[in-house]
């Protein structure tokens, strides 16, 4: 494949044609905040945390879904980006109910980790405190909509790694939420194979193993990556 040359934060680099800006940045040792991106599953650009500036474009673009192009000049850490990232993150916290002190994912949550790394010590927006429930009908897993950030990692894992197609996003805007089968309780969703891949994929405390209590929901992120590599490359690699 042809290589493209570009600059990211004044670093000159070359990347394979078709690579995303996120991949190119990572290879150059530049870390970007991400939430909906999960290694091993295709990207959808849902969370907007990986936004970057590209010279010549007035709009900010998500690094995870933007492909490298010849001569691109990319900025990943400008004042403008830091401002929007912090805003996006605070809006994510304000949207549903994040009460870390009583959350299964406390201490092992990607949303929390992002807050720490971006120095978010408080949320400037009014909390919406919507009323969402917990689906406890599945025999092995639970879903707490209060903690969901709608990254759709669970949906993509369910459709494209497990191939079950149980999980979906329903509704729009503030009413958007994750459903199982035809908006049935998870325990009644016949297509679910109870594989647990969605639980492994979830960055927050929204999906959990039943019985996990505060701070107990630790995940093994490499398991999904392992499965995808095994299937696509016929390589069974664990580290």
């Amino acid at each position: 494949m042809a290589a493209k040359t570009l600059t990211i934060d004044d670093k000159h680099l070359s990347a394979e044609e078709g690579a995303t800006l996120l991949q190119a940045a990572k290879e150059a040792g530049i870390t970007l905040p991400t939430l909906c991106h999960l290694e091993g599953i295709y990207d959808v650009g849902a969370c907007r945390l990986c936004l970057v500036e590209v010279k010549g474009l007035t709009k900010l673009v998500p690094a995870c879904t933007t492909r490298v192009a010849e001569g691109m000049e990319v900025l990943t850490n400008s004042e403008r980006l830091r401002k929007y990232r912090r805003m996006t993150l605070e809006l994510l916290f304000a949207e549903r109910n994040h009460i870390c002190a009583v959350c299964v994912a406390n201490g092992h949550c990607e949303l929390q980790t992002l807050a720490y790394s971006l120095g978010m010590d408080h949320v400037r927006y009014e909390y919406r405190t919507p009323r969402w429930g917990v689906d406890h009908t599945h025999r092995l897993f639970g879903m707490d909509h209060n903690r969901c950030v709608l990254c759709s990692r669970c949906v993509r894992a369910c459709w494209h790694v497990e191939g079950a197609g149980t999980k979906n996003v329903s509704g729009r805007g503030a009413r958007a939420h994750i459903i199982t089968d035809l908006n049935q309780p998870w325990g009644e969703a016949d297509s679910c194979t109870a594989c647990g891949k969605c639980v492994q994929a979830c960055p927050t405390g929204a999906l959990f193993h039943k019985g996990a209590t505060v701070g107990e929901m630790v995940r093994d992120r490499h398991r999904l990556e392992f499965l995808v590599t095994a299937r696509q490359k016929k390589e069974w690699i664990t580290d």
């Binding site: 009460i99 870390c100 720490y116 010590d121 408080h122 909390y127």
Partner: protein, 181 residues
């Protein structure tokens, strides 16, 4: 001159103050540098004037909290939202999810539905402060200078922030120093 320090406990569980006491021997160093002018651990009834720094534990849940918070803001140079309840409203704000009328429904739930003996909602004008319709984090009521989250904030982080404040610096927690929950 010693720094005039206050600590106050609004709608919280006192856990942040317990963590403050976990400062152990640093408390002795602190005594040399500050005058504790108001706190749950000293016997002063009225929030004084001319306070330099106040650590505020707890969310704003009732009319008492609201009233003292406005007084604190008027008489204090630097406010620190101390702990998750002060910073995010945390567990006390769970009732906000019940929408309008949540204050009455939590009282009914706790004092009537779950009462084993003598079901009655405690009401006494001027003694039991009425609940606010919505529980709020401190900075949504008055401007706050600094934020020290954590449920509770670990003693080490309290020390970092207090030391920086006493040195006249602007504390800012990030990375491993920052913690919610």
């Amino acid at each position: 001159m010693k720094v005039r320090l206050a600590t106050v406990w609004l709608g919280g569980c006192s856990g942040c103050h317990m963590s403050f006491l976990d400062l152990d021997e640093f408390l002795l160093e602190l005594v040399d540098q500050v005058e504790l002018v108001y706190s749950p651990v000293v016997d002063v009834k009225e929030y004084p004037e001319n306070v330099d720094v106040c650590l505020i534990e707890g969310a704003v849940c009732n009319t008492d909290n609201l009233e003292i918070l406005h007084r604190i803001r008027r008489h204090t140079k630097v406010l620190v939202a101390f702990g998750d309840c002060a910073v995010t409203a945390n567990v006390p704000a769970i009732r906000n999810q019940l929408g309008l009328g949540n204050a009455e429904s939590v009282l009914q739930h706790a004092y009537i539905e779950h009462a084993q003996n003598n079901p009655r909602v405690p009401r006494a004008d001027g003694i039991v402060p009425p609940l606010l319709p919505r529980v709020l984090p401190v900075h949504q009521v008055v401007p706050v200078e600094y934020f020290l989250p954590g449920c509770p904030p670990p003693a080490g982080q309290i020390k970092t922030v207090v030391t920086q404040l006493l040195a006249g610096a602007a504390p800012q927690l990030a990375g491993a120093e920052l913690k919610f929950g």
